[in-house]
């Protein structure tokens, strides 16, 4: 009886992998095939498609302007991720130690930006950072500045707006990681005489590493590809990879070069994701071991 019960339990709770085939077929046709076409097109030497070669890649990698765009995009991601981590970690910490009501309130505040339209959120930052915006109005009424500060179209503006837009992606994994920490470990650390800062540095922070890694990966990937916020807050002077790609593809109709930009950008993102995944495995081993 036990054997038949066991067999049945496998039987009823598992589903045939063939149920995944429609989605697998859909992805093969409309996700993997387009990516393959993108790779093929990036090896065309000109827009007519008569010759093949690595010209487009040579052009990108030999051009200081293009490399500068790539570097500033990757560096932008680092800055935004750092800001999100510094402010997101305390939010997750507060969430973990609050009662149920405050907990769901914090969660709704965190989720609200995630679910509101990115254009709306970016628009809000234009209102806040503009010449007649709140920041300038406050500074001028306090007499701290004479003329309105230029906040839009600056590096500081882009990082601030992107950090707010992407913050939920950092807080959600951190909240999960912090809620998994055994409170006894914190209590033990305090009983043994460690103060709050020492417990934070030696116990809570290391144990939250899996959340830090997961959150940083999502935030980084999202902020370097966040093309609406980058273009509206950054304006015309600051060019990042997504807008560069779009200009080449749409305005200049240079598809092979746009394809090469896409591939280089994809590889950069995949490299970052791989690094974070490796760190994630190491940190999980660390947090559990």
């Amino acid at each position: 009886m036990a054997a038949s019960g066991l067999r049945r339990s496998i039987d009823v709770s598992g589903y045939d992998l063939r149920l995944a085939m429609p989605l697998a077929g859909f992805f093969a046709a409309f996700f993997l095939a387009p990516l393959a076409v993108l790779v093929v097109l990036s090896f065309q030497t000109d827009t007519t498609g008569a010759h093949w070669g690595v010209t487009q890649y040579v052009q990108f990698l030999g051009d200081a302007f293009s490399l500068g765009v790539l570097a500033s995009t990757l560096w932008l991601g680092v800055k935004v991720t750092a800001v999100c981590l510094v402010f997101g970690w305390p939010v997750a910490w507060l969430h973990a130690r609050s009662g149920p009501t405050v907990k769901s309130l914090i969660m709704l505040i965190v989720l609200l930006p995630l679910l509101t339209s990115v254009v709306v959120r970016t628009f809000a930052w234009i209102v806040i950072l503009g010449r007649q915006g709140i920041v300038n109005a406050t500074l001028m009424s306090l007499g701290l500045v004479e003329a309105p500060l230029k906040l839009l179209y600056t590096d500081l503006g882009v990082v601030t707006a992107l950090a707010q837009v992407q913050m939920p992606l950092m807080v959600l994994p951190l909240a999960t990681a912090l809620s998994r920490i055994d409170p006894n470990l914190v209590a033990a650390s305090e009983v043994l005489g460690a103060g709050e800062w020492r417990t934070f540095a030696k116990v809570i922070l290391p144990l939250s590493l899996p959340g830090i890694v997961a959150g940083s990966m999502l935030t980084y990937a999202a902020s370097i590809t966040a093309f609406i916020t980058q273009s509206l807050i950054g304006g015309g002077q600051m060019l990042f990879m997504p807008m560069y790609l779009y200009q080449q593809a749409s305005t200049l109709q240079n598809w092979p070069f746009a394809a090469a930009i896409s591939i280089i950008f994809l590889i950069a993102v995949l490299a970052v994701v791989t690094v974070f995944n490796t760190l994630g495995r190491l940190s999980r081993g660390f947090a559990q071991g």
């Binding site: 996700f31 993997l32 503009g130 007649q132 997504p242």
Partner: protein, 270 residues
Amino acid sequence: MAARRPTLDVLTFHGVMIGLSIIALIVLVAPSAVVLIVSFTSGFSLKFPPPGWSTRWYVELWNAWQLQFAAKNSFVVAAWSTGLSIVLGVAAALPIARSKTLSARILDSVFMSPLVLPALAFGLAGLMFFSAIGLPVSKVTLVIGHTVVCVPFVVRNTIASLAQLDPVLLECSASLGASRITTFRRITLPLIKPGILSGGFVAFMSSFDNVPVSLFLRDAATDMLPIRMWQDLEGRLDVTIAALSGVLIVATVAVMILMERVTGLSRRLA
């Protein structure tokens, strides 16, 4: 605990943590609040605080047929993409959730990959692909492209709720003589429905809000709401956009609260 006097250590740690998190929470809410306030201005600019109050920009919205047309397109595309994502995504999640086999793991990572890959690169790839096979861009290509980037949300949430499903319930149902279809319909589906709903909700919102894929896969006649808004903002700062943003924020909050009641959205996404 109560008898112990708070030391400098406790005070500084809690002060820093609570201070930073309050700043973060205010900054998270502020933009939505600011847009709501500015949308009721009586003036023609986005000056803050507004010189006076009126609902004129909401009335203006009533006549903004371009925005309404774009909103209708976005809604239709998001509805189709969400429907397609739910059908394909739930079917795929059922076997993947409990399977440890290599092929299931590979499928899982492929289905999740649109979440981290730059959507703009995928949009361009889609345009090149459809032009290579001779399919002109239309609402159909939009729905296909949106489904690729939205289906991960449905798959992830459905897998998460299947993982919490107690297999004993399924065994009980089977041992009481229910067929697999009946068990699925009467036991599995009702229990994973909140997961499917919250995944579908996030999929709908991200499709409705999508710019990068729509930029490449729409035809000239199909104006999409976020693109229309983006282009309006590039040109001039229009207060009508503030009123429209106000409507979108209120609608999002309303649906969010509803989903929180029905599915416990905040627990699911955390």
